[in-house]
Every structure is written in C-alpha cells, then in structure tokens.
C-alpha cells in the first residue's frame, strides 16, 4: 500500500504546473490539453513532437526545450494521449515544413498518433512518425520493429532534435532518426511492481525476492523471471542479452552512449552501482563509452528496477548527442 501525493484525476495537471514552475525557459501549455510547447528551436525544418502515457516522468512532457522536443503530449497515467490532443499540439506548432511524431512503440500510441497523423495530413500538415523500439526483451531481433520503446526514446529524440537544429532537411532528420532508433537497444529489470496511483496496490504480481528481466515500462512481462540477484551478476547478464542482440543483427559495437535509468524507487545509490558494473562489463567487451548518463529519465511510477540503454555511436551520432540541449528530462553535460 502506497499513497501518492496526487490522484489520477489531477496528476497530469500537476505535472504541467510543476514543469512550468521549475523550467528556466518558457513552456507553453496548449489549451486545456495535456500538451506543451517550447518555441525557441527556430532553425528547424522538421519540428519534433513526442508523447505517451503519463507515469513516466520526466518523460514525456519534460522533454521539451532547447535542443530537445518542440512539443510534447501526455495521456492519462499509462494511457497513450488521445488524437484530438495530439492534433492540438501539432497545430500549435504550425507553420513548419513538417512534423515528426516520435514515441515509444505501444499499441495505444501507435493507434492514437497514427490517427492524429492522418487527421493532420487531412489538414495539409506533413507528418511522419518514428516509433522507438529499443526494448530487446519484447520481441525477437528479427521482429525488432515490434518491440516496445523504453528509455531509448531519449537518446533517439536527442539525436533527431540535434539533427533538426543543424538545419537538416525534413527527410534527412527523419532518416537520422531511423538510424538512431535502429542503433538503440535497452533492457529493463523490475524488482518490485509500481503501486497503482488509484488504489495504492501493486500493479502486477512480483513476489518479494523475485525479479523480472525485460519488464516493460508499464509492467508488461519480460523474458526471464528469476530470484533476486545482486548487481555484480545481474548487470553482466543483462548486458550480455543486449550485446548479443546487437551482434545478431550485424551491428558491431565498439563505441556506445550509455544510459542507466531508474524506474522510480530504485535509489541513486543503486543506480550508481549499476553504472559501475555496466562500465566494467563494457570495458571487458572493448566498448568505448564517451557518453554515460545515470539517473531517472523514463520511469514507471514507483516501480523498483532499472534499465540500461546502449546507442551505438559513430562520429555523427556522438556529435549529435553532445550538442547542447536542455530540458527537464535530459540536458547535455559539458565536461
């Protein structure tokens, strides 16, 4: 049993108010929709709209900002946004050469963004979609585009945004996004179910002492249920699965951007432990790590657990990831 400081009926409102309160740059709300825009990325030919269900804070609304998304749209907790709201944010970002909808690959999101994209096109707005599908646990590598999107959303979004900022054409930005998406793989593990914001009860069954490798961001089942395991063996086991997946798809990995992401109530202490063991394992595999981020980027309410994301880097993606960016969800750090 867990009480939340907000209830289902005011949670998303509260997120928007909070973002506006804490943001050093202006974030505009779109009507009464759960949508926001940042208007400062003026050099872009392609504008970027991201979104998804709530409960994943700082995603998705927190991803707008300089060098990041131009617009974001949230649904209720763990529910994709509705098409009217997606369309409203789309229209608020006009005029532009074209819009890219970037979101995690879930039934609900595909249905709603897809519907909104059609309605936008009917209004003469050019829209293309990038569906992030980084979760290696959710489908075999020969069906990679059916995978779910998890924390990989952020690196892909960051690359796309930076490509748009350097003035790339709409189709170049889109192509870059497909590349970044194809080069991004993640795997998560759940240590304890999130508590429902409605009832305070666990949202799925995961007995104490068991873990689920490959658990999705909403508690979707993963690939392996096993007994509790400390970081020393858990992290190498997870990375092996990710590395094997790169290999099986013919992507040789010698340099990667790394994200260690907390799912909600895993402590920063533990995330650092995961980071340390991730470094050791990648080092053993001869993989360079010029960009390594540890924190809470894509959560699942108060689920305990974490995910590890690797984006294969070439010089282009490394430069794009290093380009300046600021948002509540993700900012570039300068050494």
């Amino acid at each position: 049993m867990r009480e939340y400081l907000v209830k289902t009926n005011n949670a998303v409102e509260a997120v928007i108010q909070g973002l506006q309160a804490t943001s050093p740059f202006p974030i505009e709300r779109v009507g009464s929709h759960f949508g926001v825009t940042y208007r400062g990325n003026s050099a872009r030919k392609a504008k970027l709209l991201t979104g998804g269900g709530s409960g994943h804070e700082p995603l998705f609304l927190g991803a707008v900002g300089p060098g990041m998304a131009d617009g974001a749209i949230a649904g209720e907790i763990f529910a994709a946004p509705n098409p009217d709201s997606i369309l409203a944010v789309t229209e608020a970002l006009q005029p532009c050469e074209g819009m890219i909808y970037l979101y995690g690959n879930y039934s609900g999101d595909v249905l709603n963004f897809g519907f909104a994209a059609e309605e936008a096109r009917a209004k003469g707005i050019k829209v293309e979609e990038i569906r992030v599908h980084d979760d290696v646990a959710s489908a075999a590598s020969d069906a990679a585009t059916e995978r779910r999107g998890i924390a990989g959303d952020i690196f892909v979004l960051k690359c796309v945004a930076a490509a748009a900022d350097r003035g790339d054409s709409f189709s170049d930005v889109l192509g870059l996004g497909e590349k970044a998406s194809a080069w991004t793989r993640s795997l998560g593990v759940a240590l304890r179910a999130a508590a429902s914001i409605d009832t305070g009860q666990p949202m799925f069954e995961l007995p104490v002492g068991e873990i689920e490798i490959g658990m999705g961001l909403h508690g979707e089942m993963g690939v392996q249920r096993s007994t509790f395991e400390p970081v020393e063996t858990l992290v190498p086991r997870m990375l092996d699965l990710i590395l094997a997946d790169f290999e099986s798809t013919g992507l040789s990995l010698d340099r990667a951007a790394v994200m260690v992401n907390g799912l909600g109530s895993t402590t920063v202490l533990e995330l650092l432990a995961v980071a340390g063991h991730t470094k050791i394992t990648l080092e053993k595999n001869g993989i360079q790590r010029p960009l390594f981020r540890t924190g809470q980027f894509a959560t699942s309410l108060d689920m305990a657990g974490f995910s590890i994301t690797l984006t294969k880097l070439d010089d282009e993606l490394e430069n794009l990831l290093n380009a300046d960016a600021h948002s509540f969800a993700y900012s570039t750090l300068r050494p």
């Binding site: 209720e76 529910a79 879930y106």
Partner: protein, 216 residues
C-alpha cells in the same frame, strides 16, 4: 403480454446507451483486476473514465439522429480515455458518423452501424479472433447480431451471450496484441479485459433494451 421492440428514437437510444455505459463504471474493479494480470492494471479505470465522459456528453447533447448519439459516445470515449482501448472503443462508436443518417434505431441500423465500426477498427489493428483482444468478444457478438432473425431484443440477447462466451473463451488464448503480447503461456487462464468490456456492453445493451420494451 410482451410487445416486440422494433425500433428506438434518438432519445431512447440516448437513455439506452447511458444506462449501458454505466455498467462499465460498475465493473471497474473487476476489469482492472483482469488487466493487472495481463497488462498494466488500468483497463477498468480507463473505460470507466470513457463511460463517464460519454454519459456526460449524452446528457448535455441534443440529438436528432441515432448516428449522432453513437458518435457522441465514440468521441467522448476516444478523447477521454486515450490508450489502445480509447481509440478502439471510441472509433467503434464514432464510425456511426460515416453511415447514412437514421432517425430510428432498428436491427438493420444497428448492424450497419456496428459493421462500419468493425471495418474501421480492422483498418487500424491487425488483431484477429483468437489473438486475445476485444475482437474475441466483438466479432461473435456482431456475427450473432447480423444473423439474428428475431426482433431487436432477441438479437441483442443473442449478441450478449455470444460476446460473453467469446470473452470467457479468451481466457485460454495466448495474446498477440497490446501490452499482454509478451506474456505467452503466463496469460492463460485470464480473460482479456477488452473482450470482457465488450461482453459487459452487450449484456447491458440487451438488459436495458428489455427494460425499454413496452411491456404489459
């Protein structure tokens, strides 16, 4: 003695739908429980939110055609629910806008309306019967409705039992779509929440239509 119910006017349809939608609200916890086993535990919350928004929109709306009544429900659900089910249930009802306007609801109109809804859903998801989704209740229900020879009440009764049977049978299926799709064998034993919602809807529709029926 019972008189057969042959058709309803928009205002009757509005009452019928409002009553029927409220059973989703009543079944909220059970639907959440099913989704807790197969998905993210919110199907009951989501569909009740949709039902409430639809009821609100029925109460404030003025409807001159049956199509408008169904479309109002669909729009309210699509907008208020979001998620997979918001789009699917929403579109199913909202498609009523796309068929010829009718001022009464009889079995023929109902079939036309739901068939168009199904067609629009099929354009958006590749799920097939057997894939453990709402289709496992919806398709049997619509088939019954289409094949029924009796009056509206009898047809709805038939549809309700087909939907209920379909939802029950979905328990034994392995999911191929939606959040449940990675569960595999672990999904056996629990009926699909979306299919269960479809069964609740048709069961309510039949029962509430009976209550409307001019009885002795």
């Amino acid at each position: 003695m019972e008189k057969n119910l042959e058709s309803l006017n928009p205002s009757q349809v509005k009452d019928l739908l409002a009553k029927t939608l409220s059973s989703w609200i009543a079944e909220r916890d059970r639907l959440n429980e099913l989704d807790r086993a197969l998905g993210d535990g919110d199907h009951g919350t989501t569909i009740s939110r949709g039902a409430q928004a639809a009821i609100d929109s029925l109460q404030t709306g003025n409807f001159s055609s049956v199509n408008q009544v169904f479309a109002a429900v669909g729009r309210a659900m699509m907008t208020s629910m979001g998620g997979a089910s918001g789009m699917l249930f929403g579109l199913f009802f909202r498609s009523a806008e796309k068929i010829p306007v009718s001022e009464v609801l009889d079995l023929g109109t109902l079939n036309a309306l739901f068939d168009r809804g199904l067609e629009d859903l099929r354009a958006r998801t590749k799920a097939q019967p057997g894939d453990k989704t709402m289709f496992d209740a919806l398709i049997p229900a619509l088939t019954s409705l289409r094949e029924s020879q009796g009056d509206l009440i009898a047809a709805l009764d038939q549809a309700a039992s087909s939907a209920t049977e379909g939802a029950q049978k979905s328990a034994e299926l392995i999911p191929k779509f939606g959040r449940a799709k990675t569960l595999g064998e672990r999904a056996r034993g629990t009926p699909d929440p979306g299919a269960t919602s479809v069964a609740i809807f048709f069961t309510g529709l039949a029962a509430n239509a009976k209550a409307l029926s001019p009885q002795s």
